[in-house]
Amino acid sequence: MSQGKRFSDEFLNAFVDNQLAPEEKSRAFVEISQDECLNRQVCELRKMHDLVQHAYREPPAPPASGISARDRLRINLRFGAVASVLLVLGIVVGREIRLPAPDLQPLSARSVPTDDTDVVGTYQAVPPAATRVNAAESKQPRVLIHVAHDNTAELSQALDDIEGLLTYYRNKHQSARVEVVLNGKGLRLVRADTSKFAGRIAQLQKEYKNLTFAACQNTIDRLKREQGVIVRLLPGVTVIDSGMAEIMRRQNQGWTYLQV
């Protein structure tokens, strides 16, 4: 178990919580992807981490006050009734005011061609256009690229696209993060025994430290279960619990998604 001791528990936790410095992190990625035992440890930690986060999403219970439960119920009922009456009233009045007054339509009135950034869902609060554009420009681009096929010609094109994207950001002096998620047939791209692009991938990894390849553990498990294949990954390829879960997670964290 000397491998298990290569990293302390604190270090692995920091890795899962994304609190490591970039160099430490890339070293961890490399080590973890080459060591099945460590890999599983990280997977378990990730699961735990997600569960903890999930648990804390529930709002905490309000503190008990000095009023008796019965009194509180009575007060709550009274305010509840008043609030629902006002709610219904509000909706009805809202509809009434709107219908006969077309100039109150802020959305259609705003269809100025230069202002297409304003077309957003009406349910969210939106900062003024100027600050939003600046935020989008200054923000570090984080792109998740999903590969789920093993068509050789298309994979070659996909690697070109990934390299093109990384070069584009480098030329613009923009620090970006690009994560390539491989699941299903896409896993073949990063399997040591099946990849036709091992050299190209090694070269990309060497050239761009902001690029990671992430293989889906579910796919690896399925291959073992259904075909008895023990998957060995190319050096530097990291493992994530589930490709689909990673895609959802990253999008929730504000990453952009695209499929090549």
Partner: protein
């Protein structure tokens, strides 16, 4: 007093919600980026059909659509030069306000001259990198669809 104020705020909020729901007429305003990187004619025709149906469902004034073409997807505009059906589909979509953005990396890599080889492309339709363009549009709030 605080409770009263919060109830008033709630009532105002619901009034706003009532107005917003009306303004949308079923769908809220949408910004969508369609990603095309394949050259199969059936698949391309189906993708253009998807876009057409999407616009008629949401309403032309309620939607901004950009189609980003890169890799083999650029061939859509090559095919449009020789296939009148495909060309008509593109003309119709452009009439509905759809923009077709072409990846410059692809043009350079595949030595395509957009003026001669592609249907109805001008300089304003060229983006430096198709993939980076999609990432940028998503950051600006566009929803990603790959048909």
């Amino acid at each position: 007093m605080r409770k009263f104020l919060s109830i008033v705020a709630l009532a105002l909020l619901s009034l706003g919600a009532g107005m917003a729901a009306q303004a949308a007429g079923g769908y809220a305003k949408q910004k969508v980026v369609y990603h095309i990187n394949y050259d199969d004619e059936h698949q391309l025709a189906a993708a253009l059909g998807n876009i057409k149906n999407h616009i008629s469902a949401v309403g032309k004034d309620n939607i901004v659509v950009k189609v980003v073409l890169h890799g083999k997807g650029v061939d859509l505009l090559k095919i449009a030069n020789s296939n009148p059906d495909m060309q008509q589909k593109i003309v119709n979509l452009k009439g509905e306000g759809v923009a077709f953005d072409v990846c410059n990396n692809t043009l350079v890599g595949r030595k395509i001259n957009y003026k001669n080889d592609l249907f109805d492309v001008s300089e304003k339709d060229i983006v430096p990198s198709g993939v980076a363009e999609i990432a940028k549009l998503e950051q600006e709030g566009y929803v990603y669809i790959k048909p």
